[in-house]
């Protein structure tokens, strides 16, 4: 798993509640990414980070925010969860540039 830990692995939450997912890496890689995976859509980029406190939006960033206060941690927050955010969330890391990304095991989030 290339030193990536996602927590929690599973979560059920109610609509309107805040949720934070954590991605922790031990590789000291510069780039970290949050993707969501839904049937028929593959992996879609939510937000990514290219360094401490340096983040940017991906293609499906609405309703999500991120923070990266340390190299090893990248947090994804749903300020007010909606049913459309039910998905499997993957964190990934890479050295950057033309290198592959390594993925975590995923977090299955269900919003009821």
């Amino acid at each position: 798993d290339a030193g990536i830990t996602q927590s929690p692995r599973h979560k059920v939450t109610e609509t309107g509640t805040p949720v934070t997912l954590r991605c922790h890496q031990t590789e000291n890689h510069r780039y970290m990414y949050w993707y969501r995976q839904d049937p028929g859509h593959g992996l879609r980029l939510i937000h990514y980070s290219y360094g401490v406190k340096d983040t940017d939006k991906g293609e499906v960033s609405d309703g999500y925010s991120v923070s990266r206060s340390k190299t090893e941690d990248f947090l994804l927050t749903l300020e007010s969860a909606t049913s459309s955010q039910t998905s499997v969330y993957f964190c990934a890391i890479s050295v950057g540039g033309r290198t592959e990304a390594f993925f975590g095991q995923g977090t299955r989030l269900t919003v009821v």
């Binding site: 940017d56 990304a101 390594f102």
Partner: protein, 115 residues
């Protein structure tokens, strides 16, 4: 636009046969492509990559072909085994000014290997 897609959503093959999974991309400026394998309940795992200055790259039982003229790449798996059953994704690397990059994934192809 920026998109990476796949021609076949599901591919069924017999054990021992060769498998070919195809992918089309739309950004002609992309210079790096990756194939990932995802087994049920797991995150995607790197299989093989190829840079745009190459048209073929081989790994163990896998070969990736890149045709920049038609913006198409394929993953060939030789002597397909039951353990190859998974969803396969191609990904396209996009570079931005400032040295930043991101990967754009296709929707995926499910490979089912039958005994």
């Amino acid at each position: 636009g920026e998109s990476v897609g796949l021609h076949l959503p599901t591919l069924s093959v017999q054990e021992g046969d060769n498998s070919i999974i195809n992918c089309a991309y739309s950004n002609s400026a992309s210079d790096y492509f990756i194939w990932y394998k995802q087994e049920s309940g797991k995150g995607p795992q790197f299989i093989i990559d190829i840079r745009s200055n190459m048209d073929k790259r081989q790994g163990q039982r896998v070969t990736v072909l890149l045709n920049k003229t038609v913006k198409h790449l394929s993953l060939q798996i030789a002597a397909t085994q039951p353990g190859d059953s998974a969803v396969y994704f191609c990904a396209e690397n996009l570079d931005f000014s400032g040295g930043y990059n991101k990967l754009i994934f296709g929707a995926g192809t499910r490979l089912a290997v039958h005994p």
